[in-house]
Every structure is written in structure tokens, then in C-alpha cells.
């Protein structure tokens, strides 16, 4: 199938982009790498009147070390993270996750901010940024706004962004030297959508112990205090994420979480 008709603008400045969004209302949609939007357009599931292409806006492509955190601009590609071409605050977690996103050809164009704004519940950054308690920085006509990643995704394909707001990037606190992490993605084939994502981060120096029950068809479920997480608590977390016992979903999410925790312990 081919996409429906739409207009296309490639503004030169962030302000111009926000103005186009504000003027366009519901009919305007942002385009970054287009790797999620492209298929949706081809299926005519999205029928925007205007696409605003922000892929090359300089404000969105910065990546900087801010001391105790790292800021990654929205148009940072998955492959840039995979290859370590941008700073990694997570002692290997982000590159490891990036390598499992879709396929290299998609990672070369797909972006961090685009994936977050698209808010597919199975998407890796949607889940991992919630695990890391990252901060999403957005810009709109009313200025800059910061949203915790765990509050950014509101539901399937739904975010806290207003129609005229643009994700500038993501601020991620650095994991300390003694931090351990584990991540387990369950999917049928490399590159396919996750059926379950388990995550665990333990950073004693920062007093962080968080666990993730991800790819649950909704905003990710994060256990903010996951110190001493044992199997009964893992099962409880999976139940809290909405999967009753003795279901297939409960089983795979429990195993993904269990394996993520085990990986963190073995790290």
C-alpha cells in the first residue's frame, strides 16, 4: 500500500517546527527517522495532513556529558547508541539494548526521540528509559518541560506530549561504578517486537534498585523499590502489571524479569 496524500515541511529552526505543529493541530505530525511512522503511513493507518521533518534540526541532535548525567538529543539514532558514537551513562546497558532494536538498517535511521514519542508499548526505549528513571525533555510554545520517563508514556501510542510539543532529548543519570544491570527481551526472532521485557538496575551508591515489567501492551510497569527482589515479589510485580497467574503472559513476563535479575547478579 501507499501512503495517503500529505504536505511536507522541513523547518530550519526548532521555533519554526513548533509553530508548524501548533498551526497544524491534530493534522500535523512530526517526522524524525520515520521508521515507525513509515509503515503506519504505508498502511494508511495514519492520515496526517502535514509532516514536519525534524530529523536534521541541530537542537535535537546534540549529545552531551553533563557530569552526573548524559543528555541524548531526540534524533540520536539507535545505531549511534549501539556503536558508542554518543556517551553511554549506563555502563553498557544502552548499547546492548540498541543492538536488539529492529535491524541495523532501521537503527541507522530510527531515533531515540521518535521511538519515545511514538510510544509503542513494546518499544525498547519506552521501557528502558522508564527503568532508568530518565527524564524526557520537551519543548513547546510555552517553553521547556521535563517529564519522568515513567510518566511520559500514558498508554499505547499515547504520551504526555501536547500536540505542539517536541521531544528535545532524554537526560539519563549515570550509573556508578558498582552498579549492575540486567535486561532480558523475549521475542520470537531478533529484531521482532518484544513479547516481554524484563529489566533490573541496582546502583547502591545512588540508592537505586528498580525493576521493569515491560512490553505489556500499556505503559511499562516499574518497581521503584526493587531491592531484595525475590521470586514471589517478581510474580507480584507481573500480576500488578496486569497479568493474572497461570496465564501465558504472566509466565513470559515473570521469566523475563527473573532472567534480567539473574543477569544483573552475574554481571
Amino acid at each position: 500500500m501507499k501512503p495517503p496524500k500529505f504536505a511536507y515541511e522541513k523547518p530550519r529552526t526548532l521555533e519554526a517546527a513548533i509553530r508548524l505543529l501548533a498551526d497544524g493541530g491534530d493534522g500535523a505530525k512530526l517526522l524524525a527517522g520515520g521508521q515507525s511512522l513509515g509503515p503506519i503511513l504505508n498502511f494508511r493507518l495514519a492520515q496526517p495532513e502535514l509532516l514536519v521533518d525534524v530529523r536534521t534540526l541541530p537542537e535535537l541532535s546534540v549529545a552531551r556529558d553533563e557530569g552526573d548525567s548524559v543528555f541524548l538529543g531526540a534524533t540520536t539514532t539507535h545505531s549511534a547508541i549501539e556503536d558508542g558514537r554518543v556517551p553511554d551513562p549506563t555502563r553498557g546497558l544502552l548499547p546492548a539494548v540498541a543492538r536488539t532494536i529492529a535491524y541495523r538498517a532501521v537503527r541507522n535511521r530510527g531515533t531515540l526521540g521518535g521511538s519515545l514519542a511514538h510510544a509503542d508499548p513494546a518499544a525498547d526505549w519506552v521501557n528502558v528509559m522508564a527503568l532508568l528513571d530518565a527524564e524526557i525533555v520537551a519543548q513547546g510554545p510555552r517553553g521547556e518541560r521535563r517529564v519522568r520517563a515513567s510518566e511520559f508514556v500514558r498508554g499505547p501510542l499515547t504520551t504526555a506530549l501536547a500536540v505542539d510539543e517536541i521531544v528535545l532529548g532524554v537526560r539519563i543519570r549515570k550509573l556508578s561504578a558498582r552498579a549492575r544491570w540486567g535486561h532480558y527481551k523475549f521475542n520470537r526472532k531478533p529484531g521482532e517486537f518484544a513479547e516481554a521485557i524484563g529489566g533490573f538496575v541496582h546502583d547502591p551508591e545512588r540508592g537505586v534498585a528498580r525493576a521493569l515489567v515491560g512490553a505489556i501492551g500499556d505503559a511499562p510497569h516499574v518497581v521503584a523499590d526493587a531491592s531484595g527482589l525475590d521470586e514471589p515479589r517478581m510474580r507480584a510485580a507481573v500480576s500488578s502489571a496486569g497479568f493474572g497467574p497461570d496465564t501465558y503472559e504472566h509466565q513470559i513476563h515473570f521469566v523475563a524479569l527473573k532472567r534480567a535479575v539473574a543477569r544483573a547478579a552475574a554481571a
Binding site: 517526522l31 504505508n42 538498517a105 541507522n108 535511521r109 526472532k189
Partner: protein
């Protein structure tokens, strides 16, 4: 309605008038008559349409042509003299890495990326990197062997 587009395609300037909704694949195939890039799924899974955009493999079926204005695009037609592609073509023929040929252009673009980006790749890594290129004919046996052969040749010659 149509937008003027200026690309570098296979080393030469190419201009086209396309609708914003036109994918890079359709721009190449329908406007620039470069039909070597095949379209298999139009949703980014099968990999048949993989081309190089600014040197990196990308899905031309889910990438809008207008978003590539000014980019350097290379398709299978532009790899005739590329030394890595020359070695890959030889290995693909020797290892029977193609049958119907439909996935082959995208497969070669990905194979070239593997060989150049991951010179130390072993068989599991090659298979992982090929996950985004589907072949329905060969069972991947010849494709994997061909890529490993070129990797080994390049390691020997360095």
C-alpha cells in the same frame, strides 16, 4: 503538490519531482528507473529494499524520498565497481547464495555493511546481522557461507 528533489544517486546528481508521500524506493524505481532495488513488504521487515543512504544501510520502502533531499544514495546498480561488492558477488555465486534473486540486492547491501563494519564477525554474528533480510529460497546457508568467506579473505589480506 510535487516537490523537487535533488539527490546524489550512485555518484551522480539525480533530480526528480515527487509527491511527499513517495517512498525512496518508489522514487528510485518509478522516477529514476533504478529497478535493482526490489520492494518486498513496504513495512520495513523483509529487507529487500535496503539501500545505502549516506553510506549506511536503510530501508528505502519506509523512508520518504523528500526526507532524503541532498543525501548520497547508493543502490545495487552503484556497486558494480565497489571492491567489497565485487568480492561478495564472487562469493555469492560460488556458494549458491541466491536463487530467485529478489532479495539479493538488499542482501548484498547488508552483507557489504557486515563485512566493512564488523571485520571480526563470526557465524552467529553474521546471522544476527542478517536477521533483517529475509530470503525465502536459500535457507541462508549459502549467504552465510559467502559472507564468512569474504570476511576470512579480508582478514587474510590484512
Amino acid at each position: 503538490m510535487k516537490t523537487a528533489l535533488s539527490l546524489k544517486v550512485n555518484g551522480a546528481l539525480a533530480e526528480a519531482q515527487v509527491e511527499p508521500r513517495t517512498s525512496l524506493a518508489d522514487c528510485l524505481r518509478e522516477h529514476l528507473m533504478l529497478t535493482g532495488t526490489n520492494v518486498g513488504c513496504e513495512h520495513g521487515v523483509c529487507g529487500a529494499c535496503t539501500v545505502l543512504i549516506d553510506g549506511a544501510p536503510a530501508r528505502s520502502c519506509i523512508t520518504l524520498a523528500v526526507a532524503c533531499d541532498g543525501a548520497d544514495v547508493r543502490t545495487i546498480e552503484g556497486l558494480d565497481d565497489d571492491p567489497v561488492a565485487v568480492a561478495l558477488r564472487e562469493a555469492f555465486a560460488a556458494e549458491h547464495a541466491l536463487q530467485c534473486g529478489y532479495c539479493t540486492p538488499g542482501m548484498l547491501v547488508t552483507a557489504r555493511d557486515i563485512v566493512t563494519r564488523l571485520p571480526d564477525a563470526d557465524e552467529p554474528r553474521v546471522r544476527e546481522e542478517l536477521a533483517g533480510n529475509l530470503c525465502r529460497c536459500t535457507g541462508y546457508v549459502g549467504i552465510v557461507r559467502a559472507i564468512l568467506r569474504v570476511l576470512a579473505e579480508r582478514r587474510r589480506s590484512q
